[in-house]
Amino acid sequence: MSFDRRDFLKQGLGSFAGLALADLLMRDGIVHAAPKPSTIQHHPPRAKRVVQLFMAGAASHIDMFDHKPLLDKKDGEPWDPGESVELFQSQPGACFASPWKFRPYGESGKMLSEIVAPLGKVADDMAFIHNLVGKTGVHSQATLLQTTGFNFPGFPSAGSWISYGLGSDSDNLPTFVVLPDHRGFASNGAKNWSGAFLAAEHQGTVIRPGNEKPIADLFPPPSDFITPGSDKAGLAALEKINRAYAAERPDDDRLTARVRSYQLAAAMQLSATDVLDLSSEPQHIQDLYGLAPEGPGVDDTVMNVKAETEFFGRKCLVARRLLERGIRFVQIWSGNDNSHPRRNWDSHEDVPRDHPPLSLGMAHGTAALIQDLKQRGMLDDTIILWTTEFGRMPCSQGSTGRDHNPFTFTNWLCGGGIKGGTYGESDEWGFKPLDRNHPTEVYDIHATILHLLGIDHTRLTVRHNGIDRRLTDVHGHVLENMLA
């Protein structure tokens, strides 16, 4: 018989597996026995957890968050920024005004585009950085830079560093969870949540909400020899054997850790199933996040707003449930890495075709997450970071596409001790930072996030091959003016 998640849910938590595992858990009282991993904190934290929203393929800052009236004026005219322009794959076309209207939101009057309108409700909470600079217009390296702080492979993800620094706040769920786009991984795939030279426990765990098997190997596949009874008896026997082996070697804490890892695995079967069961969410919450009545099977033969809202909203809602259960770092991806036809933000050919469904879906889910965290009092200690690989050019590629712009792009943060506002402007084109000598870099953002978590980014180090490695390499300044 199969331990399919649906069966599991059908039978409820009082069913066989639930009982088996609950037995184990109660007998051992492991919830209390859990030794907390040591936490590296250098000052009192403002925040406890982080959500990173990642737009794969590079979202267009000037079509979403960074309003450029000059482009409206010069639309269609030859673009002359007064210097040579190196593009990734094309020659600069004419000025290309955003196809969408911007209007002011909130008390701050922040100008946001139609395709992120749902975020207008929370505009005052958001801290925009429009002068973020990247290092290259190559997708994989730009993605790595944002996820790991290095544009080379081989370094731990920010989530892994935070797992390493803060340890787990949950007994039975992983510390760092990744919710990938259901259509596939973004550039670099698993490297974006790799623990690299940190221990394997710090790597991101992939959970696929809405998928039949949301977590790999959470339950055994169908087989003729595993029954609920044999599973329970087997686990009990295993526990006994491993305990006895550990008891003879009381010095070796690896062995007790191993006994515990199986208990946690069992606990995870329960809690992961529970965290993914959105049916317990009241209808108004499901609506808030924009879940489609037909669920993850919603028709997306052609990319559309309804489907994108369902996909992203579901991940946001699962993220909130994960955060409630003590997950430290959730990484949510929008878009995959397959370029034709577009299922990501890399709108070389057609911004008006590809951006609206992705953007409106993202904005809906994100706004819901922010509002929901707020109403639960969790926004105060949860940091939300919206990021992407780089921006897109103010000039056109073809007639309605935009090429890569690593020279300036937008990130925004929210919650967790961050003050809303705009910190760092791009120039009048959205081409480069307004003050070219003082751009913001990903290191600064990582330093700020670590700071809010109570960590001095210069002191969270791991020696690897003779070098004290940091998330921020040898760079990074806390963005002090952004702190509430």
Binding site: S140, N188, G234
Partner: protein, 970 residues
């Protein structure tokens, strides 16, 4: 003047030379003795050519003078003094990090400026590294006498290793453990040397062997096993960051690197002298004559990740190239020398005495190497192949010439009648942005486009279409092809596994452009909702595109439109053969290898006589035969050893200031590393010497008997793999940031032994494994642990967890499923897909083709493979000197529930039934012998029996595969 110091550097630790503080006032200030140390201690860390914060360097006088930081003779007007002086209670602006200058230092500066600010031009101020050339690991190998301990037990008084270890224990008042029992010993030794469990028969034989030399014989047997090379080869592959994909962007899999893995395994099984092995890694293609088995070693140079994306920007190209060479330099330093050379890329090494010059001398050494394939073969194989090919190629050329001549003859005739032909092509050529055909109204249920010639290569018939419209012959015409009007498109399309329909025919009738149908046959067929009168079609591949000429919009050149009632018998209603031919870039002379232009393609078709057609057919038959014979001559095997490029190696080479290829500093030439100048024979090569000579020279220098690092690093690695921790616990770093040796004399003794034994590892294994230190039990003792908790002094054998590979190999082995085939292309535990990018999807089900030893897995970088990744198999983005040993719930879930474990549980159960019959007690006993090399206790038997009785034997096997005892070696 206002100077901004924009960035605070926070990482570095400064030099620590003492500045003299008291000077007799009457003596003029001596720059070198009094001022330079101040700059060295307080300033150059952030203000040097490689790191000129505020665009200021204090390495030489230039910047100070240019920026008027120092105005000779005018101390009060010199800005330098202002920034280092406290002002109104505020601390001085500089230095930003570290202590302010003392008042005496400031006074000295003032006097120096007042006296004219003399800075001799030959004095360059550099930051000093923490360690200098007196660092322990840079010293010659010591001739050590093993220490004598009076109280040493007789058994410990035989092997010199034990003398060293015992002496250290005695210093701490510690005693070693008694010897391990034979069962533990054979298990330990077998895992250590083979990475596999001993069979129950081997255990029994060893335990009951009365020969006092039984243990020594066991070691010999294990060293002779070919599995030894698989185990120790895997260690070495970790060290040389062997990974079989490029790691960047597309992360393309590399299918020609496995010969290097086989070479490593074979070399280790052969006990090849390691100095030679190392030299082969760096320059096997240089000194190995034409022996492919030697040249393959240089795959080391290119076995790491590298960026193959390319760039339009010359500066970026230079940066990428520098990154690629940096990877080679770093890997060389770590693997052979235990040095972090990469730290000297942007500035002199902060901790070890490695200068930027040293780093860029290495840069010049490797400059001729690029990633890629090179065919590897013996001269004999090459000449045999040439001999076989020669007559075939000659015949091929003759036939091709005959074909061309015939073609030319026909074309010439056709060109003479060009007017005639052009008259039958009155219509405009096809247009990728929209090609239209109108025809008499006809009722059709099916309409299809048939490609007769493609517009890029007219000999091909595949094409792309973004939209295909079919208009009804009605008063208000409708596009009846549209899916929304009931149209249905079919046609074989390019497929992407993880994105079905990405290029499917539905794109041709979705009413939208931008996405295209990519055909793999000449057909696109539209079935209409119902039989409809139609009279017009309009189709395109680049509608609305600004650059329709781009090859991604490849289109039809000759075509026909056909209709049908039933989808089987077709009638032509329109064609494009009366259109003018497409351009086909006629402005450019075409080589014979290229397809003909569209015009010539047509002319050939129309002008050829029946007789000529027969001749052509005959020629192409013969040509095909010859080509087939050519393909039967085996190719020379391509191997990923990189390419060697004279142009890249062309100097001159410079230091890159701050690591930037755009900022060239002093000239460098290929040379040895300066920190060993006093120890090993140093060299400098002329800048224009052949790149092969540079690598060869470096290889000889690294393995020179007087180079102390190489044998120390290697001996330490061997020790590390036997005991879990090295004498130096950072096997890749013997510098300031690395660990210090727990037994420095022993390390030098072992390094000497290594050299004296001809750099052969097997002798080292014998020496180590026959020591009492190695043979003692792993039993824990509170008292000893209180003194030495990590057993670094080896009062016991430190138990270890098996590596990911060992765990998988063990499970396969005890289930009786391990496929012992050695060598050849690797297997994959992922499904590999490639379209615009490469995707590695872990397999849910591992078939028998994956039941080989894990060392033969094709380890693509960043491909997550369940059990292997969960148990800390490294990604090999960098050299991996030691494996992590984590324990996590996800590991437990993978071990419990992955179909691999379940398959193996079933196989183990079958094996138990096969080998132990139906008797449960015997099944259980057999299981324990297989899994743990021991017999079960009575309690264990009864617990196991209960599980079998109440459930089944497979359930028990699943449990056993998950036990700690299976994966820990005591």
């Amino acid at each position: 003047m206002l100077i901004r110091f924009s960035i605070v550097e926070v990482f570095l630790i400064g030099a620590l030379s003492a500045a003299p503080t008291v000077t007799a006032a009457e003596q003029p200030v001596d720059f070198q003795k009094q001022i330079a140390p101040i700059f060295e201690q307080h300033c150059v860390r952030c203000h040097s050519p490689g790191n000129n914060k505020g665009e200021l360097s204090l390495a030489t006088f230039d910047n100070l003078q240019e920026n008027e930081y120092v105005i000779a003779g005018k101390a009060d007007e010199s800005y330098l003094l202002e920034v280092v002086t406290a002002n109104d209670g505020d601390p001085p602006a500089m230095p930003k990090e570290g202590d302010p200058l003392s008042d005496d230092d400031v006074e000295l500066l003032r006097r120096w400026i007042s006296e004219g600010a003399d800075w001799p031009s030959d004095v360059i101020v550099r930051e000093r590294s923490r360690a200098d050339s007196s660092w322990w690991s840079l010293q010659p190998l010591a001739d050590v006498e093993p220490p004598v301990s009076e109280s040493i037990p007789a058994a410990w008084n035989i092997n010199p290793i034990d003398w060293f270890v015992y002496a250290k224990l005695a210093e701490q008042g510690l005693q070693p453990n008694p010897p391990a029992d034979r069962r533990s010993l054979i298990r330990r030794a077998t895992y250590d040397l083979l990475g596999l469990p001993p069979s129950p028969e081997e255990v029994d034989a060893f335990v009951s062997d009365p020969d006092p030399q039984a243990y020594e014989q066991l070691i010999e047997r294990l060293l002779d096993s070919p599995h030894y090379g698989e185990r120790w080869g895997r260690h070495w592959l970790d060290v040389v960051r062997f990974g079989e994909s490029n790691g960047f962007e597309k992360n393309t899999v590399i299918n020609t690197l496995w010969p290097f893995r086989d070479y490593v395994i074979q070399s280790i099984n052969d006990d090849k002298p390691f100095d030679r092995f190392i030299r082969e890694h760096l320059a096997g293609d240089v000194f190995g004559g034409d022996d492919p088995n030697v040249a393959v070693g240089t795959a080391f140079l290119v076995a790491g990740p590298y960026d193959d994306v390319g760039n339009q920007d010359a500066e970026q190209i230079a940066q990428i190239r520098a990154n690629t060479l940096d990877e080679m330099i770093n890997s060389t330093g770590q693997a052979f020398l235990g040095m972090t050379l990469g730290c000297a890329r942007c500035h002199d090494h902060k901790f070890d005495p490695i200068t930027q010059r040293d780093y860029y001398a290495m840069y010049a050494t490797f400059a001729g190497v690029r990633h890629g394939n090179t065919p590897l073969a013996t001269p004999q194989a090459r000449s045999e192949r040439t001999a076989l090919l020669k007559p075939l190629n000659k015949r091929k050329a003759e036939l091709e010439k005959a074909q061309d001549d015939l073609k030319e003859k026909i074309l010439k005739r056709a060109h003479d009648r060009l007017d005639h032909y052009e008259a039958i092509w009155p219509r405009p050529p096809v247009d990728r942005t929209g090609t239209e055909e109108t025809f008499e109204p006809v009722v059709a249920k099916f309409v299809r486009l048939v490609c007769e010639a493609q517009d890029i290569n007219p000999q091909a018939t595949v094409f792309r279409v973004d939209e295909f419209e079919i208009w009804s012959a009605e008063s208000k015409p409708r596009n009846v092809a549209l899916a929304t009007n009931g149209g249905r498109a079919t046609g074989e399309a390019r497929k992407i596994e993880d994105f079905p329909g990405a290029y499917g025919p539905q794109h041709a009738i979705d009413g939208k452009t931008g996405a295209r149908f990519i055909s793999t046959t000449p057909y696109l067929t539209i079935e209409l909702a119902e039989p409809t009168p139609i009279n017009r079609v309009l189709f395109s591949s680049a509608r609305g595109e600004q650059t329709p000429e781009h090859s991604k919009f490849v289109f039809v050149a000759d075509y026909r439109i056909e209709v049908s009632d039933d989808g089987t018998s077709w009638r032509e209603v329109a064609h494009g053969r009366d259109r003018r031919p497409v351009g086909n870039k006629p402005d450019r002379p075409r080589s014979k290898a290229e397809p003909p232009t569209h015009r010539d393609h047509r002319l050939l078709h129309l002008e050829t006589t029946d007789e000529e057609r027969r001749q052509q057919a005959q020629l192409s038959r013969e040509l095909n035969t010859v080509k087939r014979e050519i393909t039967r001559v085996p190719e020379l095997p391509d191997v990923w050893i990189g390419t060697r490029n004279r142009d890249d190696a062309q100097g001159p080479f410079h230091v890159f200031l701050g690591g930037s290829p755009q900022k060239k500093g002093e000239l460098v030439v290929p040379a040895s590393l300066s920190p060993l100048n006093n120890v090993a024979p140093k060299y400098q090569l002329p800048g224009d010497v052949d790149e092969s000579a540079r690598r060869n020279k470096l290889a000889n220098w690294i393995t020179d008997p007087n180079n102390p690092l190489t044998p120390r690093v290697l001996a330490n690695r061997v020790w590390h793999y036997h005991f879990g921790t090295g004498i130096v616990d950072t096997p890749n770093d013997f510098g300031y940031m690395g660990g210090r040796p727990t037994h420095p004399e022993l390390l030098d003794f072992l390094a000497r032994q290594l050299q004296q034994n001809g750099w052969r590892l097997k002798a080292m294994h014998r020496l180590i494994m026959t020591s009492q230190t190695y043979r003692q039990s792993s039993k824990f003792r509170d008292g000893a642990a209180a003194v030495d908790g990590d057993s670094r002094l080896l009062w016991r054998y430190p138990p270890r967890r098996l590596s990911a590979e060992e765990i998988r190999d063990t499970i396969l082995s005890i289930a009786g499923k391990l496929d012992q085939t050695m060598g050849g292309p690797g297997f994959r535990l992922y499904h590999f897909m490639q379209d615009n990018v490469c995707t590695y999807v872990p397999l849910d089900k591992h078939g028998p083709e994956t039941y080989r030893r894990a060392v033969y897995h094709q380890n693509a970088r960043a491909s997550v493979v369940d059990l292997m990744t969960e148990f800390d198999q490294p990604d090999c983005a960098f050299s991996t000197p030691h494996r992590a040993q984590t324990t996590s719930p996800l590991q437990a879930l993978t071990m419990l529930n992955h179909s691999f474990t379940l398959d193996m549980a079933r196989d183990l159960a079958e094996r138990l039934q096969r080998e132990a019959g139906k008797n449960r007690r015997r099944q259980i006993a057999r299981a324990y012998e297989l899994c743990y090399s021991r017999k079960p206790t009575a309690d264990e038997i009864s617990a196991c029996r209960q599980l079998i009785r109440e459930h089944n034997l497979v359930a028990l096997c699943r449990v056993l595969l998950n036990t700690s005892e299976l994966i820990y070696v005591q």
